[in-house]
């Protein structure tokens, strides 16, 4: 019999019942993702964050008056930085709880007793949070664009030109979510959050790691830091907030490569997470 996780709004992942014609992996992952999304959306903290950033954007309009004619730049800087910062908090704090909650509530037993692979479970959870972040980023980005229209009293090219930078922020968050899931597959939420936050910080310094490695004399140390550079995600490539505030948008090639890198990196991290999660004994 074909079975999958229920997608009824008021159920959690433990409510598993047959769903007609949904025997494919994609369908099972999709169902888990939908449930993860619904669960995150039901989380009041998430709504508060969205509201808070919208308020922050409104605040930027007043802050802009203190800026000596630089309102648009400050709104873009403040708005996009807020999108990144709040996105990071959501990715970390919701991300590390995705697996842990299921274990704590013991609903994981019900889910994994069904024909659902652990990899499918992890991937579904990941995609669910990515969808939540996408909605979040889109709402916030629209807020920034509307704030720009308000400040400029009409159309301004920045309204469009900030969107490639927003896409890069989203990709950075997608990578970070995968990292959060990897850590949460084998450690406690607090430690996972700490480690993920560390990766976020280190990811912005990874270019310095490469420079540092090149400056080292010893071969072992050089190899170690070069390895660390490739191991950590290079988030500097996704930091386009400041250029966006000046109206510079990254080219299509940059965006495509960034998308490819994010997909590959997240894929590798999730595969590693699945490997660890597969070894985990829930008895």
């Amino acid at each position: 019999m074909n079975q999958t996780v229920s997608d009824t709004p008021n159920s959690n992942n433990a409510d598993v019942r047959p769903v007609r014609g949904s025997n494919s992996t994609v369908s099972r992952i999709g169902t888990i993702a939908r449930n993860a999304f619904r669960e995150a959306v039901r989380d009041r903290v998430l709504y508060n964050l969205v509201l808070f950033v919208l308020l922050l954007t409104a605040g930027a309009i007043f802050l802009g008056e203190l800026s000596g004619g630089q309102e648009a730049k400050i709104i873009v800087d403040l708005g996009l930085s807020s999108i990144l910062l709040f996105g990071v908090f959501i990715a970390i704090f919701v991300g590390v709880g995705l697996v842990h909650k299921e274990i704590e509530r013991r609903t994981i037993y019900a889910i994994l007793s069904k024909p659902i692979g652990r990899g499918e479970f992890l991937l579904g959870k990941y995609l669910g949070l990515c969808l939540t972040l996408l909605v979040n980023v889109l709402v916030m980005g629209t807020g920034v664009s509307l704030a720009l229209l308000y400040v400029k009293r009409g159309w301004d090219p920045l309204v469009i030109r900030i969107w490639p930078a927003i896409l890069l922020i989203y990709l950075e968050l997608a990578i970070l979510t995968a990292v959060a899931l990897l850590f949460s597959s084998f450690s406690s939420p607090a430690l996972s959050a700490l480690l993920t936050f560390f990766v976020f910080i280190a990811g912005h310094f990874s270019a310095d790691l490469k420079t540092f490695a090149a400056s080292l004399g010893g071969t072992a140390a050089r190899w170690f830091f070069t390895g660390l550079y490739y191991l950590l995600p290079n988030f500097a490539n996704y930091s386009q907030i400041t250029p966006a505030a000046h109206g510079y948008a990254p080219g299509a090639t940059t965006l495509l490569v960034a998308l490819l890198y994010a997909t590959l990196y997240a894929g590798v991290v999730l595969a590693a997470g699945t490997l660890v999660f597969n070894q985990r004994n829930f008895k």
Partner: protein, 317 residues
């Protein structure tokens, strides 16, 4: 049974007493806070401009590393801090010195952390043009080297931004280095997107760098390009000053003519009103010529010399 009832009554009484006690502490505490706040407001601390308060502890390079992806936001923060810093200093100065602030020399304001603030802002976001523009206007009045260093860094970081050449040209022009100024205007004029007047200014700087017409044009172009209200006001007053210099030359000629003809200086403006009328606006009652801001000029040195009224918008010094 009675004992149980008594115990309940005692417990309830104790509970009520605790609630009342807490409420009293809350009320008294709130009253205390309000009274204290009122006392603090009534006894403001003497403003001490301590040097320690005015130091910046973060070096620009360190700040850039620490801000991760938020360097643009940090640059905005330091930019707004620069504006607030200058504004606060100007207000404080005007409170303690009711006379006009000299536009040529802002060293009285003691803007010691303005250069590092602007350096921080531009290191965090090298494409942020506003701090360079602000620095070009303010820094030369008390520290020309800092202004040149800031603008030179700006050009290094943004070699195709003609406005930075304009600003650095202005800084050199102010310091009297007309050749360097001309070179910068010409170099900026060759950049794509630069207006044609940049090259024209370059040529004019070579031929008549110290002329008032060149100064007026320079101020006009800077005024048109600026988006900062403080800078605009400063430039507007500079333009008024240039106009006033020309007006005062006309008045001086009239004063000289009068004293040559009569062997003495005029006792009132009415004595030379007829000579001035074709060239200047005059006050109907006194015949005093009006400066570009609409305030009457004053006769000084026994009527032999003219000066700007200290209350005028035209810079006094």
């Amino acid at each position: 049974m009675t004992m149980q009832t008594d115990a309940i009554v005692i417990a309830k009484t104790a509970q009520r007493a605790r609630t009342m006690g807490l409420a009293s502490v809350l009320l008294l505490g709130a009253i205390g806070v309000v009274l204290l706040a009122r006392w603090i407001d009534a006894h403001p601390q003497t403003p001490v401009i301590a040097t320690a308060q005015e130091d910046l502890y973060v070096k620009p390079g360190t700040a850039k590393s620490l801000t991760l992806a938020f360097n643009g936001l940090a640059a905005d923060w330091y930019w707004m801090r620069s504006l607030q810093y200058v504004g606060r200093k100007v207000l404080r100065y005007q409170d303690s010195n009711p006379g006009q602030l000299s536009l040529k020399d802002l060293s009285d304001l003691d803007l010691r952390i303005l250069p590092p603030l602007l350096r921080l802002s531009t290191t965090l976001d090298p494409q942020f043009i506003a701090p360079y523009e602000f620095g070009a206007m303010i820094l030369p009045t008390f520290n020309n080297e800092e202004a040149i260093a800031l603008l030179t860094y700006g050009i290094e970081q943004n070699p195709k931004t003609w406005r930075l050449y304009q600003h650095l040209g202005y800084v050199y022009w102010q310091s009297g280095n007309y050749q360097k100024s001309a070179d910068l205007y010409s170099a900026g004029g060759r950049l794509p997107g630069a207006p044609s007047w940049m090259s024209e200014m370059g040529a004019r700087m070579t031929l008549e760098a110290g002329s008032r017409e060149a100064a007026r044009q320079m101020y006009q172009h800077l005024y048109q390009e600026s988006s900062d209200e403080f800078v605009k006001q400063m430039l507007l007053r500079r333009m008024l000053q240039v106009d006033s210099f020309e007006q005062r030359e006309i008045i001086r000629r009239a004063l000289k003519e009068y004293s040559t003809r009569n062997g003495k200086c005029p006792t009132s403006w009415k004595d030379i009103a007829g000579t001035l009328l074709p060239h200047l606006r005059l006050e109907p009652n006194t015949g005093a010529p009006l400066d570009p801001a609409g305030t009457a000029y004053v006769l000084v040195k026994g009527g032999c010399e003219v000066d700007v009224d200290p209350r005028s918008q035209v810079p006094y010094r």
